[in-house]
Amino acid sequence: MGIGGLLKTYVGMVPNPMSSKMRQVRSRLRGADVTVSVCPYCAVGCSQLVYTKDGRIIDIEGNYESPINGGTLCPKGAATYGLLHSPHRITTVKYRAPYSDHWEDRPLDWAMERIAQLVKQTRDATYEETDEHGTTVNRTLGIGHLGGATLDNEENYLIKKLFAAGLGIVPIENQARI
């Protein structure tokens, strides 16, 4: 074997030393807590593992145990961590007064009370106890609701129960017709 052959064989095999920092590298999942979740995007229903440390989510990936996804995810599912941690995420209440050209910050409690008042006001103004034939209808068309397919089943239950059964709101719709 000539020198060229020797080089060809051994160049690149001369081990460069590993830095002490590199020696200490470990996955950040070490010592993390894990809970089981379900991907929030489409309806395939991929099982996800959510890893947390010190009250923060540090990683979300597929769950090997699932008979559906077997650990895998699509790009949206793989981006679930990014969905939670996007720089565009809003975590405060924003309020736009009628005819205003800007948002204002408001406390959550204030918004809850204001919304409850508006619901009562609109419901009281639009409530129908009976229709033109005298049939009891106990309803309002003055308030609507959209959404549900991205929420939890239990939340859908509360929407239908509170809005329809409790307040008589008829136009309650979700993405099933989209």
Binding site: P17, S19, R30, T72
Partner: protein, 290 residues
């Protein structure tokens, strides 16, 4: 797929030229649906920022290339019509006519980047993978032209990549995950097992069987890119991350005969080796002082 990495299996490895116990990727394009889960899973695990290329008009590829902050890249090649311009009806088994390939660092058996690296920042790990040590890299950039695949890149913070630390970056084959026996993020996420992780020798066996099956099913062009035995990569002895392709490598923008620039002349190569040794020694000394 296995979540445990065997590090100590003795004996020779297959035809890839990889060292015993080497791990790597088999990327089987015939199973790829171009979903880009690998790109996102990689960015998520490695916490890499988004690139801002905008709309490219190149099929569904708005990623463009591998880079300092993109360590998996799905290439899209539309070869829809036949020679007479007719659209296909019956197609060959598995991926056909719209080729999609998830490209990645090849973790070469003879790694040009590592040979070129004067600081000893680029090392071959106990898994036989090639990794840039960020605490050693000084951003000299010698590694960049030394990679025949255009994989490694400096993060210059020029809009294409926003960390801007000036250092060299590329796929680590999830070195941190391997240290804890975890499967690399891209291979784990891949919904169709187009990306498989494992011991190189096992993957090569699997690839050879797969190619044989594909050929039986009429996919005449199926071959392994990165298998020394079939000369798929010419100048490079073998790749620890190799591919099953159904068209010539150039179609996927892969070099048919990749060569290490530093091998073009022996003196130049020697100079590099010498420089490497000097810098390597310096690095060792500097590490010792730390």
């Amino acid at each position: 797929m296995s979540t445990t990495v065997a590090r100590d299996r003795p004996g020779l490895t297959g035809t890839t030229g990889a060292r015993p116990g080497a791990v790597g990727f088999l990327t089987d394009t015939t199973l790829c649906i171009g979903c880009k889960a690998c790109e996102v899973a990689c960015k998520q695990w490695n916490q890499l920022p988004m690139d801002e290329l905008g709309f490219t008009g190149h099929s569904y590829d708005n990623t463009g290339d591998l880079g300092a902050t993109t360590w998996r890249h799905v290439a899209f090649i539309e070869r829809i019509s036949d020679e007479e311009g007719r659209r296909p009806t019956s197609m060959r088994a598995f991926q056909s006519n719209w080729l999609m390939m998830s490209d990645v660092c090849k973790h070469c058996v003879y790694a040009g980047c590592m040979e070129a690296c004067p600081t000893g920042a680029i090392i071959r790990t106990e898994f036989d993978t090639v990794v840039v040590q960020q605490d050693v890299c000084n951003g000299c950039g010698y590694c960049v032209p030394a990679c025949p695949f255009g994989v490694i890149a400096l993060d210059l913070g020029d809009g294409h990549a926003r960390i801007g630390d000036g250092k060299a970056h590329k796929c680590t084959l999830c070195y941190d995950r391997l240290r804890d026996g975890l499967e690399p993020a891209c291979a784990k996420a891949c919904p169709t097992d187009s990306i498989q992780f494992g011991r190189v020798e096992d993957l090569m066996d699997r690839a050879q069987q797969r190619v044989a099956t594909l050929r039986e099913q009429g996919v005449a062009g199926a071959h392994i890119y990165g298998d020394r035995a079939v000369g798929g990569t010419g100048g490079i002895e073998g790749l620890n991350a190799f591919f099953i392709l159904t068209a010539p490598p150039e179609v996927y923008n892969l070099p048919a005969q990749p060569e290490l620039p530093q091998r073009k002349t022996i003196p130049a190569s020697l100079a590099t080796v010498a420089a490497g040794l000097v810098f390597g020694l310096a690095a060792v000394l500097s590490l010792r002082r730390r």
